[in-house]
Amino acid sequence: MIDVKPVRKIDLTLWQKTYYPELIKGMMVTSRHFFVNLSRHFGKALGMKVERPMVTIMYPEERRWLSPRWRGLHRLMLRPDGTPRCVACMMCETACPDHCIYITAAESPDSRVEKYPIAFEIDLLRCCFCGLCAEACPEDAIRMDTGYLELAGYSRSEFYLDREFLLRRGEVTTHAQFPGELDGVTVKRVDLLKMAKGH
């Protein structure tokens, strides 16, 4: 048996049935929006400080606010001395549900660090931007906090990110995630391969 709830139909009052008062009420709402927004537009044009006349965000001149947790394009971070933080532990490659990270490890010339990646590639066409690689990384090497969302290209090869591309974005520390980390610091990148070759 289905439960039936009788709903009484609400009839219009006589005043409402003449239809015009309701029309005018509706018109007042829209007219109020119109005149308030128009005065704000004029105020903005004259340089006065007014509230926003519209909810539109004028992209690309204005950008929407993104939180630090917002997952955009990936980047590989650098240590303060310029070497990449990534130690090629393969945790992100394992954690990735799309198998889009390809890492080739090599021995690091620095004695304190065991490995470093000589090849680190992310296939953006497979990536689902889940952030599991950033969660898995023990070194805070890979982050997705660039806030870069204009991911467009003219060919499929442009979506295959290589190590150079990812490391270049790691030069700036933004959205400090750990206490003591400085925001907006630019670190000069040190190429470990060149270091190993003795240059």
């Binding site: 029309l23 018109m27 929006h33 537009h41 006349p53 519209m54 004028m58």
Partner: protein, 379 residues
Amino acid sequence: MRSVKNISGVGMWFDAIVVVAKIAVVFIGILTGAFVLTWVERKQSAIMADRIGANRCGILGIRLWGLINSLADAMKMIFKEDWLPPKGMRFLHAVAPVFAMFPVFMTFAVLPFGPPIEIAGRTIKLQILELDIGMLYILAFGGIAVYGVMLAGWASNNKYSLLGGMRASAQMISYEIIIGLSLIGPIMVYGTLDPGQMVMAQNHLLWGWLPKWGVIVQPFAFLLFLPATMAETKRAPFDLPEGESEIIGYHTEYSGMRWGMFFLGEFCEIVVLAAVLVVVFFGGYQFPYLFDGKEILGQPGFHFPWGAYVPLGEWWVFGIRILSFSFKMLVILWLQMQIRWTFPRFRYDQLMRVSWREMMPIALANIAVTGVIIMLLNR
């Protein structure tokens, strides 16, 4: 004809030039109005909805707040391919948009868009045609506009376009009746069918202080006339026949400039019917308490009911009246745009019911009551 033309040399040429100039002003005015109205529609609906309308089109960086967008729209319409279904009737298909646009311009011929002026000793009325039967002329051309819709639906060789055409023409005819009936009220009150005379009659003061505008002496006729004109132009909330992207209407098989003519014809009709509304119900070019030298002999200016008199030159009176007409037109056009974007669409049966079962009795009652009141007041 009321006036005997001066058939001799210079006088004839002068009259001809004056008529051609009036026609040019009206024609260019309506077309410019329609073009600007397409821009106003986008911008007004956007500002009303807390957003900005189209504003990115620009020529060499000059954006003009979206007017270039309208220009781009017009260019797109001109360059689109003109296509007709294989078995459609080419001649009727081509002629139908003409029927949609042509009556609109003809209707404006009897409307006065300004007060009479004196140039070189001649009084020129800013009214192209001074017909004794002006109102009937307007209603007649409203009837011709129905042909365009029906031909468009028929010539498209498309079942659904035909049904859309029938729908639209039934709607137009129903609301034309309401327009005619609601106009009888003001005609009875002012005693004339000529819009020019009607405007001049609206400057009288009732009981010494109330201007005898149509909206004051015939409020119910106004409340019927406004929705009826919006329904006649198939404008929202009465735009089910159009529906644009939601329902197949009479204009489905039209593309490019032919569709542009329907579209522009609709906007021109908005301008023209707004002018009719202003002329009949809002005093045309009159400004309250403003009289020119002919109405009160030799004393142009403001004559307030409490006795104050502000003298103004004839040309000042003329200027204020032209501005008054323009302002009233702007208000009515704004109102029509606002109504379009505020209310949801009428369903077709609701539309027809409103016209025949709800508006027509009120219109007929309006005529009867007006007649009784006039009879009582003239006693």
